[in-house]
């Protein structure tokens, strides 16, 4: 009776004990703050990848897919099983990425595209996305069980990088994220496909009239989005060290927060949005009960959608 998947809540247990520093000087309060900023950056790098993925997909298809969180979980699980079979971490992540990209393409072909061809109302696509989310999340539960699994890769102890306290994992994730985003930017700005994507996102009909095969653009975008989401998923899981079928879904709204902050359908905005949300949740989480951190992200989402749905950086046009 009470739902098909396990625990919904997730205590964000950081690999470092939060802030049990002696409380005297202002200097220490500042360092507390900066440490939180560091965590914020680490979170932001993960969220950014997923947020950019969502924004890309929304920019060409014009609807929000509710199953992305579960795509993330899927990618993380694939990577995790790969590592359990002895495959090296980097390769496992790539594998997870490709698998999730294919999942995205499949979802488009089987679920979303037929609906879009029919010309349905946005609500229907939304609910279809929810249905898809049920299916993916619970398929994962069937295959790998509802119990959380440990997915952790220790690459050495936490380092003090300037005022921040980060693990090498965080740094690696941050670096990966930056690299991927730069590659994405280069692709969008300079390759033929990137131009086709921008054209389609701006005005699909016009793009078609100019000879761009928008179906293909859409398919490839789904693949890319899936890929990025998977990497983000792995990054997220490595930060938390545990993985269960609901991991991605819970993150989904944080990701939506980033997407909305940056302006829906604007990948560059999404990067900034991720930064903002990452910092916001971590910093406020440092001062309030950690269990409320996700609620804060959700709260941001609500406030934004109510009062400024176009995001913080509203100008005309999508991908600038």
């Amino acid at each position: 009776m009470c739902g098909g998947s396990g625990a919904f809540t997730k205590r964000r247990i950081h690999h470092l004990l939060p802030l049990q520093l002696p409380k005297d000087s202002r200097g220490l309060i500042l360092s507390q703050f900066l440490v939180a900023v560091g965590f914020g950056l680490a979170t932001a790098s993960v969220v950014a990848l997923a947020a950019v993925a969502v924004s890309l997909q929304v920019s060409v298809t014009n609807f929000i897919n509710f199953a992305y969180g579960d795509f993330m979980t899927f990618g993380a699980y694939i990577a995790w099983s790969a590592t359990r079979h002895g495959i090296n971490l980097v390769l496992a992540i790539i594998l997870g990425g490709i698998a999730t990209g294919l999942l995205g393409v499949l979802a488009n072909i089987l679920v979303f595209r037929p609906f879009m061809r029919q010309g349905v109302r946005p609500v229907t696509l939304l609910i279809a996305g929810v249905g898809l989310s049920f299916v993916v999340q619970n398929a994962l539960t069937l295959i790998w069980g509802a119990e959380p699994v440990r997915f952790n890769v220790t690459l050495g102890n936490s380092l003090h990088v300037g005022p921040f306290i980060l693990t090498p994992g965080d740094l690696a994730m941050f670096a990966t994220s930056v690299v991927l985003l730069v590659m994405l930017h280069l692709m969008l700005a300079y390759t033929k496909f990137g131009k086709a994507l921008r054209a389609t996102s701006n005005n699909a009909d016009l793009a078609k009239a100019c000879g761009i095969d928008s179906e293909r653009v859409v398919s490839i975008t789904w693949f890319l989005a899936g890929l990025l989401t998977a990497v983000a998923g792995v990054g997220l899981v490595l930060q938390e060290s545990t993985l269960d079928p609901t991991t991605g879904f819970t993150e989904l709204f944080v990701i939506f927060g980033a997407v909305i902050l940056g302006g829906i359908g604007r990948p560059y905005g999404a990067m900034l949005g991720a930064l903002a949300i990452g910092l916001l949740t971590e910093i406020s989480g440092a001062y309030l009960n950690a269990a409320y951190k996700t609620s804060i992200a959700f709260g941001v989402v609500i406030v934004l959608l109510l009062f400024r749905p176009q995001g913080l950086f509203a100008t005309k046009g999508k991908i600038s």
Partner: protein, 328 residues
């Protein structure tokens, strides 16, 4: 065996009450409410804390109120509180947002609500929840299920009656037209938000009552009983059964929620209780997508012709799609 059947029926009745309430909001009026179960939870908690007093839970436990009102008062208060909260939420959100944003906002709100209740103990005893809620009448356990079943069936009948009345009335007609095209409705002198608010509150009231019935049946309630996911399942049940039609609502509740839950009990287990729930959710997801694609009206689609005195005739699917395409 008899107990098994009555348990099943009781669950089915309560689920049906919820889906019928949701139907008023989404089926009749097109208001998307992804947080319906939250109102159920409010009704449950309020009914509990207004009737269980302070001594019920032996291990202690913190929660607000702790009155000892009679059960029917507690039940009603639960419904009313849910309706009031619904009005507040409506005021803030439903009027301003398009459907996908509304979905995100309502789910987020549901999650925040869940998170706060789960973490902030003084409200409703946090993650442990409330238990030992008093029975509405003292009798043997076996008889009690029958009593609750009778009560729930009675309340369900009232809800169905109300649905029917609303549907076959100018009020229902107004709701339908607002659902289809608000611009036209306002071009003929109707302001939308009042009727919408009314129906939203009625739907939330029903949710609250269902919650109260739940809590008196199970005599316990905790955050694990109302994961935000449950709202999706209700919506799926409604859509599959047939949004806009209370028979569809009943069908959806019994078949999708009940039937699947019980059916999967008879399937060979893959090991572990979670699998049963998982299979059920997968089936719901797949059926939902298929239904949306091929039979958008649901298993029992909306039928308005009865009211105008003709044998029922299904809406021609082409007409519906064509109109939607044109409207875009």
């Amino acid at each position: 065996m008899v107990y098994y059947v009555t348990d099943l029926l009781l669950l089915g009745c309560i689920n049906s009450i919820m889906v019928v309430g949701l139907n008023l909001q989404y089926g009749y009026t097109g208001l998307l409410n992804f947080a319906y179960y939250t109102y159920v939870a409010i009704g449950a908690y309020v009914a509990a804390v207004t009737t269980m007093g302070r001594t019920a839970m032996l291990g202690g436990g913190t929660y607000i109120l702790g009155w000892t009102l009679p059960w029917y008062v507690g039940l009603l208060i639960g419904g009313v509180v849910a309706a009031i909260l619904g009005a507040v939420v409506f005021g803030f959100t439903v009027r301003r947002l398009r459907s996908d944003y509304l979905a995100i906002v309502t789910v987020s709100a549901a999650f925040i609500f869940w998170n706060i209740i789960n973490t902030y103990e003084p409200l409703f005893n946090g993650a442990t929840g409330l238990y030992n809620v008093p029975n509405i009448i003292s009798t043997s356990t076996a008889r009690y299920t029958l009593v609750m079943l009778a009560l729930s069936a009675g309340i369900l009948a009232v809800c169905v009656w109300a649905s029917r009345r609303i549907f076959r009335s100018p009020f229902g007609r107004l709701l339908r037209s607002m659902r289809e095209d608000e611009a036209v409705t306002s071009a003929f002198g109707r302001t939308s938000w009042q009727p919408q608010l009314w129906i939203f509150m009625i739907g939330c009231f029903i949710a609250g009552i269902a919650g109260g019935l739940f809590v008196f049946s199970i005599t316990a309630w905790s955050p694990y009983a109302f994961l935000p996911l449950e709202s999706f399942i209700l919506l799926a049940a409604l859509i599959v059964g047939g949004a806009g039609n209370y028979w569809g609502a009943l069908l959806g509740a019994f078949v999708l929620i009940e039937g699947l839950a019980e059916l999967s009990r008879f399937l060979p287990s893959f090991g572990g209780g979670a699998d049963v729930g998982a299979i059920r959710a997968i089936v719901i997801g797949v059926v939902l997508i298929l239904m949306l694609r091929y039979r958008r009206g649901g298993l029992i689609p909306e039928r308005w012709l009865h009211w105008y005195g003709q044998p029922t005739k299904q809406v021609l699917p082409k007409a519906r799609f064509a109109a939607v395409r044109r409207a875009r």
